[in-house]
């Protein structure tokens, strides 16, 4: 049990898909955050798409997913 023997039948490809699904779920959760919360600390007139932290997060997750997809 301590060695996760019960998961020994899971192939490397399936395991990779589990990681990719995890990134997709995190990305979805990030997208669900209200914009007001994400921009908190920036004056309303200074809020632009480039300081939207949701976009930053999605960009980082996309790069991460592409690394796992390619290796």
């Amino acid at each position: 049990m301590f060695n996760f023997d019960w998961l020994s039948d899971v192939s490397q490809e399936t395991a990779k898909m589990i990681f990719l699904c995890l990134y997709a779920v995190i990305g979805l959760l990030v997208l669900l955050l209200p914009n007001e919360y994400v921009y908190e600390g920036i004056a309303k007139e200074d809020r632009h798409w480039w300081n939207n932290l949701k976009l930053w997060s999605i960009a980082v997750l996309s790069i991460l997913a592409s690394i796992y997809n390619n290796f």
Partner: protein, 502 residues
């Protein structure tokens, strides 16, 4: 091994760091300035500082060595082992800590659970940081001695002198701003080695092709996901459960030296952005520390000790000038680790031990002085205890193992503390104590329980799980906290709305 130009680069780097660090002395007028940089720092500086303080001189050699032995799966630690946890920290935990005006993680645990939990967590961190300081001095100095022929005591005294001076006077602002320069040096030195090594092996595709033909032991070298039954320490089950779910979160959310940096941000947006920016930079770290180890498989095949991979690559590939830059990068790794330990330990001691137990209600200048004196005392202890490492060669690994006992249980009480209102002070305290005890037990009898080489990922997962179970069980049987006691300490959907009072 060093040429004249290399010495010039290294000495210019050390003097430059000292002057830059001392420049920030004029911004320190209160304890908030010293410990939280006056809450005035921008996200980019904090993000760079988080990344550079996470990678020391020893990591360059150690990770390259592991990449030589196990391949690209070592990169999991900076990829899946950082990014999800940093996003969770950015959007959930850091806003709570930042809005609560906290200085330390144990301070949150004290408010959420009780003073005992705060003290146990704080004392554990202080002990770890203080022990780590001396060991880090010695291990890095030995490494620099082997690599560059630099005398051990010159390395220790020059690092302690430079880092000690700017950390004593400039506090965390000096730590973070010098980290920015150290980050740039580290990236220039690291990328120079990677590009020249790539040229040496004839490009990426050529390297992959050559390694694939070197034998069955290299069959999985370019698989980031290793099978569950691998003999390496990185099966995918350990990476998912131990690293992604527990150790990464414990490190990014429960580590004082990481979180304290985010609390220096000028506003909540910068605090969140620093973590996300740091996660983007983190993805480059494997390129710097892992790729040279992979390329060494082609350039220097058949090494008995993988840790020789990076030193050999530096010696055989880098020209004069770039060797000096790489040496400066090692120094940068050492200095950024030491300044983080000094400032974080001084903060923990002053805020969690001195202020509540030794002298309550003193004026702010008094606590500023205590923080500075603690920094100095720690530095002296670090230098004085560093030779102990030569008598106990396994002490560095032992201290890191000691910390892995703590990661699972501390994350279990942080997670339930912020997401579950019903978690009580006795639930948190028993989960912490029993969880640490269970992790020690699993480690002592690891041959009986585990089949992989070094099961630290599995140990952190199972001790985390037990911590959660104990916390839920004991909390259900003990008196719950009132709504007033939990104000601003437990996750509420209100944090996602405009309600700044949580």
């Amino acid at each position: 091994m060093l040429a004249g130009i290399d010495y010039f680069i290294v000495i210019a780097y050390i003097i430059g760091m000292l002057l830059l660090g001392l420049y920030f002395k004029k911004f320190v007028n209160s304890s908030e300035d010293y410990f939280l940089g006056g809450k005035s720092l921008p996200f980019w500086a904090i993000g760079m500082s988080i990344v550079v303080s996470d990678i020391g001189a020893l990591d360059f050699v150690g990770v390259s060595g592991q990449a030589y032995r196990y391949g690209i799966s070592v990169g999991n630690f900076d990829w899946v082992g950082s990014v999800p946890a940093m996003l969770l920290a950015a959007f959930i935990f850091i806003p709570y800590f930042w809005r609560g005006g906290m200085y330390t993680i144990p301070e949150y645990l004290g408010r959420r659970y009780n003073q005992k939990v705060r003290t146990i967590a704080s004392v554990t961190w202080i002990l770890f940081f203080a022990l780590d300081l001396g060991v880090l001095f010695w291990a890095s100095a030995v490494l620099l001695n082997v690599l560059m022929g630099w005398p051990i005591w010159i390395s220790i005294v020059s690092t302690a002198g430079v880092v000690g001076l700017y950390t004593y006077f400039g506090g965390i602002t000096a730590v973070i701003m010098t980290d920015v320069v150290q980050f740039v040096i580290m990236f220039i030195g690291g990328f120079a080695l990677v590009f020249l090594s790539l040229y040496e092996v004839g490009g990426w595709d050529n390297m992959v092709e050559k390694i694939a033909t070197m034998g069955p032991e290299y069959r999985n070298h370019f698989d980031i996901i290793q099978p569950q039954n691998t003999k390496s320490p990185f099966p995918w089950t350990g990476i998912l459960f131990g690293l992604t779910f527990v150790m990464a979160n414990a490190y990014m959310i429960g580590n004082q030296s990481i979180v304290q940096r985010c609390l220096t941000a000028k506003n909540e947006w910068h605090a969140k952005a620093s973590m996300i920016f740091g996660s983007a930079l983190k993805m480059f770290i494997p390129i710097l520390v892992l790729f040279p180890g992979l390329m060494a498989v082609v350039v220097h095949p058949g090494l008995a000790d993988g840790d020789q991979a990076l030193p050999l690559m530096i010696k055989s590939i880098l020209p004069p000038g770039l060797v000096g830059l790489m040496f400066a990068a090692f120094f940068a790794g050492l200095m950024s680790s030491v300044d983080s330990l000094l400032n974080s330990t001084a903060t923990l001691f002053t805020k969690d031990i001195y202020e509540p137990f030794i002298k309550k209600g003193a004026d702010d200048k008094h606590y500023l002085k205590v923080g500075q004196i603690t920094t100095l005392v720690l530095l002296v202890i670090g230098v004085a205890t560093s030779p102990i490492s030569s008598d106990f060669p396994g002490i560095y690994v032992a201290i890191q193992t000691f910390m892995s006992y703590f990661q699972g249980p501390i994350f279990s009480i942080l997670l339930l503390g912020i997401f579950w209102k019903r978690s009580t002070e006795w639930g948190g305290l028993s989960a912490l104590v029993i969880g640490i005890g269970f992790a020690v037990y699993l480690n002592v009898f690891k041959e009986q329980f585990f089949t992989i080489e070094d099961p630290f990922l599995y140990i952190s997962w199972w001790s985390f799980l037990l911590g959660v179970i104990i916390n839920i069980s004991v909390s259900s049987l003990t008196k719950k906290h009132t709504a007033e006691q939990l104000q601003g300490l437990v996750f509420s959907s209100k944090i996602l709305s405009k309600n700044k009072n949580l």
